[in-house]
Symmetry: C2
Subunit: 267 residues, 2 copies
């Protein structure tokens, strides 16, 4: 099937998931949508996150996608169920793959989760982890300043180290050996978080496992693109094309040329 | 005229302007709208800020307001002109009143402005200040981390002091004696900013002067509410009623009971 995969996020962070899909599924076409006009989602209500996610799915469907990846942790936590119920094509999120990867990593069965306020409040990482193994203990912490710090470029900075220490010191009281980076911005703080948590704690980025889940799903359902060419990628945002392109050029292995503005509220 | 004043902001910050209007115009009815679903505006494009502001004005007009105060600095900087051109009722922003207050304060004629990226990029504070007095020199600085720090409650904190020092140390190279707090969140950092800048720099909060401008305007146009009762206040947001009420109860001198959700995208 040549139809593209739809990938969406509240903004630019989901490009790290898109990148992993490009690596693991190089033959697939992809349409990426970043809701840059309404970012961030992590501080919004469930109702609003569902409304926005539905609009984006309607937009992606209008582009003829064969499957959708909700690359945003917050939208995955709060809207995935509704989106799956209301649509016929396969839709996957990043939480379950992230939970699977963490559960495979842990030995102590104590897993940490850091994410936005909305994701943590949803309890969905907890739900997936304990569905995999009820013996697992989950320690969660919302880290609202991480996204603004990353966006200000302070990935290596004493202020960021200070904030990391405040958010994460509680996690040190538990014997966690696996920490899920439950927001697409957080892998950009990987070095600083790793330094603080120490080598014995493995940092889990759900992006890799999400691409793996998508590949398995396309294979199982016989939906892979069998054309021999390399996949084509198209990008849409709801605001700020130039900022998007400059970020995308840093993250993606290929040049981002075609990026268009979508009036997402009309979907 | 008993019709209410419409006041809007990208979120909760504009309540500091609403509070000043309640103080200076206690007989006026007021409708407040906070765009909490799409906050923040400070990092968005001009086009999007204008689109959102127009929707909000249409909503306020549907409620029969007689005048509108754009309490958000970013929306004032980018959308005020368009809103004034397209509507018949009086619409005022916070930038010109803020500029007037700063121009009245300065002796050295060197004025600092701190605000969001979008407000600084617009150059509008510069425009208003130099319209008042072309001799004035304006030194501007965008401070993107101030809003997240305030929202995280870190108004008195070593991290905030560190960030203040980084953003504002450039301003110390100029002999500014007046600093405009050009974002409704910044007055909440007044103590920390004042400590760093020193007593010789007067901090200007546009809210007071905005309420004064509104009063003058209503008097000039004979639009004051002459009913003897105290004004009635109604609140609308696009998301998160509870968070809004808890913030409003801290800021306003009266209890906030009636707060309703508006589907602002439909206006």
């Amino acid at each position: 099937m040549e139809e593209p995969i739809g990938v969406f996020d509240s903004g630019v962070g989901g490009l790290t998931v898109a990148r992993e899909i490009m690596r693991q599924l190089p033959g697939e076409n992809m349409i990426y949508f970043g809701d840059t006009a309404r970012v961030p989602y992590g501080s919004k209500s469930e109702e609003t996150i569902i409304k926005y996610s539905k609009q984006i799915v309607r937009f992606l469907l209008s582009k003829g996608v064969k499957a959708i990846v909700v690359a945003c942790n917050t939208a995955s936590a709060l809207a995935l169920d509704v989106l799956q119920q209301e649509n016929d094509i396969p839709i996957i999120g990043v939480l379950e793959p992230g939970a699977i990867a963490a559960a495979e990593t842990t030995v102590t069965k104590n897993i940490g989760v850091i994410a936005t306020v909305a994701t943590i409040k949803s309890g969905m990482y907890n739900y997936y982890l304990r569905k995999i193994d009820p013996q697992i203990t989950v320690v969660s912490k919302a880290c609202p300043l991480f996204v603004p710090l990353v966006e200000e470029g302070l990935t290596e900075d004493r202020v960021t180290d200070d904030i990391i220490q405040r958010y994460l010191h509680e996690l040190k009281d538990y014997e966690i050996d696996s920490l899920i980076l439950g927001c697409t911005h957080y892998p950009l703080l990987r070095n600083a978080i790793g330094r603080y948590m120490g080598e014995e704690v493995k940092l889990v980025n759900p992006a890799y496992e999400t691409a793996k889940s998508l590949k398995r799903l396309l294979q199982d359902k016989n939906m892979m693109n069998t054309q021999p060419e390399k996949g084509k990628y198209t990008y849409f945002v709801s605001d700020g094309v130039e900022d998007f392109i400059s970020f995308a050029d840093r993250v993606l292995p290929c040049d981002v040329k075609m990026t268009s503005i979508v009036n997402i509220e009309s979907y």
